[in-house]
Amino acid sequence: MHATLSAEARLAALRDEVRRIHAARRPAGCGVLPFGIEAVDTRLADGGLALAALHEAAAARPTLGDDCAATLFLAASAARLSRLQGRGQVLWAFIRRDLFAPGLACAGLNPERLLYAECRDDAECLAVMEEGLRHGGLAAVVGEVSRLAMAAARRLQLAAEEGGTIALLLRRWRKAGADPLAAPSSAVTRWRIGCAPSAPLPFAGGIGRGRWQVALERQRGGPPHQWLLEMPDAEARLALPARSGDRPDQAARAA
């Protein structure tokens, strides 16, 4: 019977089966966090960022600008979730003390939603994240680490499933040559965020809304993809650029 099906159809059937297995393992009642942008949500296997799961993001290049873009991407995701839950609390575990709270508030993560945990090293940061995830009362747990062993990622994923809380992990570059997303991990989605030039304003002077090249490097149960998105506004919403005729992915699809 299988011989009658084409190779592609069999592949699709297998993918469906894998998706069902994954869906059965996820605790009931846990939803997803949509981006609110149709072009993005339809490309994600779950229709958004799955809650009760680990998601990773890293800067596209080892520059401070891209690092900040990845930080804001996670901050905006956590803020959207916090806003969905009314006054959900977000725990942010960090090591380097360079976060600027007013900047996070600009991306919708207001100070009354955010608890900071200052950690000494990656191990402590992961332990704090795990504690926050298992507690189950937080909207999201964000962490910043540079090294992450496969076993540690697995622990975080299990803690996230147990507490039903989303884990957002910022993988920071340690040095220029060492890509933080090079090694495999058990994260459900892995993102790579880079700055992109904004559209010039029609008048001289001033600066428009910033843009990012958002690449979904890997996702469970779906193919990778990338988009050009605009930076989050004060309510943490990302957006597609208004005039998007020259988007690289669109051009590829048209061809």
């Binding site: 804001l72 725990l91 007013p102 600009c106 009354e112 955010l114 945990a117 950690c119 504690e131 937080l138």
Partner: protein
Amino acid sequence: MLAGPGGGWRPGARWARDAQSQDFSIRAGGGALVTTMREGNRNLIAAACPVARSLGLEPGMALTKARILVRDLDVRPADPEGDAAWLARLGLFAARRWTPRAAVSGIDGLWLDLEGVSHLFGGEQALCARILAFCRRLGMEARIAVAGTAGAAHALARFGGKALIRCPTDGEAEAIAAMPLAALRLDAEALATASRLGIERIGALASMPRAPLQRRFGMLLLTRLDQALGRAAEPIAPIVPEEPPRVTLALLEPIATAEAIEEAGGEGLRRLVPLLAQAGLGVRRLALICERVDRGAQEVTIDLARATRDSGHLLRLLRARIETIEPGFGIERLHLVASRVEPLGPSLVEGELSGERPVPDLALLIDRLAARLGSRRLHRLSALESDIPERSVGRADLLSGGAGWPSWPRPVRLLSPPEPVEQVLSVLPDGAPLRFRWRGRSYRVAAADGPERIFGEWWRRPEERAAVRDYFQVEDEDGARFWLYRRGDGEIPAAGDLSWHMHGVFG
């Protein structure tokens, strides 16, 4: 014997508190100080210092009159609530330090029952000298009278005119005979009647027949007289200092392992929690003190974000700290002290009847993380009223949350300290940079916004009086956004040296 420290004049306790660092002696300053209160639409003198009294100023005098009589009068508002709180604190101190039976008397005195305690301090004289010295160190002038009755002590302390008066046994009647009637704690009406009848001294009153006195004055006058002379009892209601709830476990055998300490701590908590529940209290700080065989003591303390009586939660926090205890040759006694408590009523048990998932309490997580990281490293931030970015962020309460900032664009990461930027090409006075060099790399600016001018805060540091920072938000050709500032406005040299700095990155 009863002693009543007190005096006609106490410097307003509030000023003594506020000005502890500077010398608060009036004599050195030479100026006259009075405190004032409002009565109707008149400002009256509430209390006057000895210098002011020597110049003829009296409590109750109108302030306008006092100002005419004395030039350069130092006038401050009276603070009766502050004085009362201070006096209550002093009373509590006396109850802890000197005698178990101490009470506040009126607005300006304390009763101390010295029965059976003076020998602990080397006799009455030594104890009184000690109390006087203590009050002097606090910046107060105290007067003490020791007498067999509360009434006599009250009268002698306020009208005796000496810092220390010790009335001989059974000598009260004689000692207060020459005192004015005001010393008997009478109301103004009774005093006025007595003065109309020509009764001035207590001695004269005591020798008069009692029946006509009672008809004219009522019972109060005779009661006060009897109390002063020891014919009527006058119990005092002593201040009871609050002891923190505590539990002590004496162990049969010394213990040394972490498991055994944990077990004993759990037993202590099982005894402490009912005590707290009975008193309606919850713990905010719990100390576990371990007494070792060699008389050394080890202490671990846990702080809680919210008052709690949950023994499981407390034990979990204690367990994380127990390994820091060094048991030495063994621990033979354990104390659990709830050193900070807050009222805590009964709470509802989370039920699953409604079918909702109960939301776990955030305070439990905060306690656990604070126990792991230390309370300094777990925080919530809040806006401070400052435009200078470095000063605009402060810590806030962990549970209640902080205030937000005005919605100006701000970078997500801030460089501390700001890093110098070189080879900047820009147009004075207010042009954005066109090109700059930072961390060994050249950047060409594609778009820029600014300036946002931030002025120095001259009220903090005088050097900042003319200082100006002009902030620009710039985007380079790759789309990375930076927050740069230039010191100075390009017009006045005092505003800054026109150097450029990188302060943050937007992403």
